[in-house]
Every structure is written in structure tokens, then in C-alpha cells.
Amino acid sequence: MTNRVGIVEVAMTPGAETKEYFLDQVFKISKEVLDKAGVARDDVGTVISASSDVFHGGMSCANSYYWDAGAAFLKNGSRQDGESLFAFIYAVMRILSGNYDTALVLGVCKGSENPDDDVLTHFFTDPFYQRQVGLNETIAAALQKREYMDRFGITEEQCAGVVVKNLKNALGNPYAHVKKKVSLDDVFASKVFMDPLKEIECAPKSEGIIAMVLAKEELAKKLTDKPVWFKGYGSSIDGFYLGDRDLLEGELPNAAKRAYDAAGIKDPRKEIDVAELCEPYAFQEMLWCEDLGFCERGEGGKLLESGATGVNGDIPVNPSGGVLAMNPYVSRGLYRLAEGFLQVRGQAGERQLDKEVNTALAHSTHGFAGQCHAVAIIGS
């Protein structure tokens, strides 16, 4: 039985809408990652993907559609109907079990073919209560932001600061969807969407097809001279009814603790070199930083203002631009992981951090006001 799992290669599409046929995109990315990794399709052990029917053209049993395009013909594979970090960890489990030497992991989401995310997230609701009142993820986030400001004094300037930071970072990311330099004034002038959220504080709806090759230790070392190792993972889910939860004390601390314990991390702020988080609503980046232990509860705004989470800070967050710049709902976690992978390998191009990156954290969230979180730690 193998001890370690390494990420060998990554391939991904940019986030802007294309008129390419969905399956052509999946095929192209799957082929590209296998070619780059030097793994023949015949030698792929198992294929695990993440996708969701509502997030790709309303086609049910999502992975039926892209099974062949995703290199899985006559392969033993499976699918996570949720966020793509679930698919990553499932592939890791399959290799750790000893049954497989390699895995192909896919995250599949063609945003341009779907209705707005708020239409789709409306269908997370139960038909009897929250659906009748019209709940969707943006409303949930707006309610959460209001509480965050009321309880801890987080300011609009601080929230705007996240937008400015991330969109600026995105300019150096060839995969980013939103490429726009914005100032604080631009953010304040932006249209109100669901007060207290402005349009520009909410993530776009992007294309995102991403593939990753994982291999057990001995093979990973043969396939590449810089495998990035899986170190730890944790996930956790909160209760369903929005009103039952304390929106500022969610499940991310639990998810993070599980990942930190597995990775042997005791002081996250010191031991993590870069963090790629999912912040579909700008203020959430600050809240997640608190949950991840980068600062005390309520200090997320101060952390941002200090510059610590900037590209030259001691805990750079989202040097890729994060989800505010690029939001393929189901694949976004795997994109975070890919960014971490590239940083550790020194292959992040213009967005490569100006320091040694040995340990990266990738985070994903989905559900109302962060009902569900996952954290993965990878490193050299």
C-alpha cells in the first residue's frame, strides 16, 4: 500500500465564455493533461470527476455525457455531485487503498451554457419553506455579510479591498475570467445587487474544465521531477435551514482542523506559504481567513488592511484572483488546488509569488452562506 499521492500535472480552460462544444473542451483538456504527464490513456487507473447536472446544461447523470471525452471509456470511474475537491479526495482515497496507481481527476462546468448561478442555487432550497421565500446563495451571502458587519464592525472599505486585491491579481492570470483593474472608488460606485452586496462583490459565472493527474509515490517520482504531494484534507457540512445556523460560526474551522491535523500543521499562518480560497462573495475571504486561523475571530478586515494577504504579505491569499475573477461553480475548488500546485512548482507565471512556496492550501465552499467547506493541503 502506498504512502503518498502526488499531483503530477494539471490542464485547465480559461474562464471566459467560448462557443466551443462542451465535449470538445473536455476531450482537449483530458488529452492535454495526459500528454503533459506522459501517461497513456490505457495506463490511467481510475477517473473521478466532479460535475452537477444543473451546472452543465441541465443534463442529468452528468458524467454520462462526458465519460468518453474524459478518457474514461471502459475505465472504473465515479463522480462527485458537488464540489470538485470532493473528487480530488476520492481519487486520493482510491490510490491510497492500493487498488490504483494513477487517477485522472476532472472538474467540469460550462457556465456559459447555464442560467445564472442564482437561478441554480435557488434549487438548493427545500420546496416547502425556503423556496417559497425565494432564497438563493446571493441572498444568503447578503444576510451573512450584514451580520459580519454588525457583529464585528467589518467595513465596506475592507470588503472593497478584497475586490481590488483579487481583481488586480487576476490580471496576471491567463485563466481568469474577469480581467479588470478596479479601484476602491470603482467598487463603491458599482451597482447594488442585493444590499449590502454590490454586483462587483459577487463572483461571475465562468467556464471551467480542469483535469489533474495523480499518481502513487513511486510512479509520481518517475513521471515528473517535481511532484506536489497530498498532505491533508478535511471537509465539513453545516445545518440546512439558514435560520438554524450562526452564519459567522460555520464549519470551516472543523474542515481546516481535519486538514491541518492530517498535514501536521500547528501554526497555519506560519506554515502555509500560499492560500487559494473560494470567495464567491468578497467579504467571505476575510471570514474564511479567520476560520482558517490566519487571524483571530473578527479580525479579518484588519488582516486584509495589513497587507498580510497581499502577494508580498506573509500569508498571500488568492494570488490567482480567486473566485471573484473566475467562478466555474463546481470546478472552482480544483482550480484553487491547481493554482497551489503551480505555485509550489514555480510555474505560476506572472502570478508566481516572490518567495519560496513549499506548502499550499486550497479551499472550496458551496451551499448557502458556506454551508459546506473543504480544505486540501499540498506541498513539496
Binding site: V119, H122, F128, Q132, G134, L143, F240
Partner: protein, 154 residues
Amino acid sequence: MKKDFYTLENVIRLPHKYAAGPTFTRFYSGLKEGTILGTSCPSCKKTFVPARSFCPGCLVNLDEWVAVSQEGEVVSWAYTEREFFGMPGKPPAILALIKLDGTDCNFLHLIGGIEMGDRDSVSSAIKRGTRVRAAWNDEKRGHMLDIKYFEPVS
């Protein structure tokens, strides 16, 4: 060189019939009569609204019914002037989490009965802690929106 490919448009309409079970059936009957029903947990003593068939914390089945107070405090609110999919009514609207007196969870519903034309007047009328009370439709059909909205108690 821009390539123009065909775009296929497709709308999927599917019908659903949801089983409300005994708890929501009784909750909806309560709404029809102008009452907001909750259930209490014998184990942790918490009261939940809308009524639940089981306690979300203890997972025990719940059987103690109570007509909860129709008044409470605003916990959080979100204001929009835009129409969105599934919107209960037309903009402008205020979605809110309200802690009804004597209950142990927040109730998701609407705030109304105030001037809603601009954000500033709304935010001076509604704050965290503002006390609100349920305002009902004359015609009730057993639906969350039998409660028109919650309006500030003067």
C-alpha cells in the same frame, strides 16, 4: 478571426408533486388560520419554526406543538431593487432573518410595510434589533406567503 458556431437553445420543464408529510401539512394549516406553529424538543428544550418533525440538533422526533409569537427582532436583512428568479413578488424587496420571541432559530421571510424606494430610507427604518410583527394576507392558502411580510412595530 471570429468563429460563429450554432447555439442550441433548450428549456426543460419538469413537474413535481412534493409530499409535505404530517408536519408541514399541519404547519400550513396553521398558516391558513393565521397562526405560526413551531415544535419543541423535549431533550434540548429548543423551539423551532417552521415546525419540524425532528430536532435538528438532537435528531429526536418532535411532537410538542406550540403557536409561536408573531413578533420578534430582525437579525439580518438584505434589500434588492432587482427582480430575481423565484422572487416572492416584485422588487423592491427585503429578505430577512427574524428571531421570533420564544423561539431558538431565525425565521427567513420578508420585511415590508415601509417605504422601500431607496436604500438609505430602508436602512434607517430597519436595523439589527428592530422589532417586527407578522402582517397577513386576507386570503390564505397554506403557503409561507400567507404572511405578507413582517412590519416594524411602532
